[in-house]
Symmetry: C2
Subunit: 169 residues, 2 copies
DNA sequence: CAAAAGTTTCATTTTTTATTGAAGTCTTTG
DNA sequence: CAAAGACTTCAATAAAAAATGAAACTTTTG
């Protein structure tokens, strides 16, 4: 039950120094790959938790809302950063952090970086057609620049598989 | 003079399809490395501009404010993405896009990624001390996890120089 | 099978981040 | 050297993103 609403922040501030460090570390880390603060908080706490925690626990300890906890866990489950474990005699789901850190990077590269590069390369094609219609002088300038950009993006794209392999290894 | 304020949006919507594609491409790209929309707009327009543009031009064509233009250019100058060129008979600064795309990535890696990794590794040290004070069982768990995280972060750190070299080459 | 527990969803509110533009500074020029 | 032009700054405002929590939904249990 969500008695946290009745006695607000009851267990707030119960975080140990270790937990706080972990939480801050992951908030900063996750922000980089576009995940919000609450997601970092949840993972940070689970990362140093000796046992699996229920959503209740996360809400109480972190002082976050029901919605944030539910949505944060959903995101973390989706990227495979967290998994639910069975706890005998307790109906609630309990969560543990998956320690395979490379999952975040992998998800980010595949779901963010790669699509963005692909989209950008498509755009370059469009832009090349559009540049054709310019008068000769401007056209030459535009084409040279587009060529450069394309080259650079392709380079980036070609690097991704290597990067993935390096991170996952 | 900033007559754009007197006749608001005078030249608004004067952007060509090519310019729009370029602007959108760079907005999306820059957002990834934490630069705001207006910065992407400015660079995107300069990227396909056959001649250098004054701040005035950017304000009029993009329909952005004086402040945004000034600050955006400052950011772009700082990362070396844009440079001012001399235009005879015109007192205003004129800007051209630096086409060395790797500069963005380089600035991002050096000013964002690297410091974040270093900070995280420092945190791990703190956390290891804190973990010492836990009771034996929890301590073992915490230490194993911290070891893993540290290992992964060091790996990431070791990759940066390579990444830089690859991007700049 | 109804009541309770656990969880999700989403419209609203709060917080954070980005943009605006008026006031101020610095620079050029007549 | 004063006035105008070019640019910068920053407090106020607007826009975007994240968090909240009540209502709805699902699952379990007596």
């Amino acid at each position: 039950m969500y008695s946290a609403a009745a006695t607000p922040g009851a267990d707030r501030g119960t975080l140990s120094a270790l937990e706080i460090e972990s939480i801050e570390l992951f908030i900063s880390f996750f922000k980089l790959i576009g995940l919000q603060k609450s997601v970092g908080e949840i993972y940070g706490l689970l990362f140093v938790a000796p046992q699996a925690l229920a959503m209740d626990d996360l809400i109480a300890r972190l002082g976050i809302s029901l919605g944030a906890a539910s949505q944060g866990l959903k995101v973390l489950r989706t990227v495979g950063a967290v998994k639910a474990v069975y706890t005998p005699g307790d109906r609630r789901d309990h969560y543990v952090a998956d320690l395979e850190l490379s999952k975040f990077a992998t998800a980010f590269i595949r779901e963010d970086l790669k699509p963005r590069l692909v989209r950008a390369l498509e755009r370059i094609d469009t832009m090349e057609s559009l540049a054709n219609k310019l008068d000769p002088e401007d056209r030459a300038t535009a084409e040279e620049r587009l060529e450069r950009l394309k080259h650079w993006l392709k380079r980036g794209e070609s690097m991704l598989p290597w990067l993935l392999k390096f991170l996952v290894k």
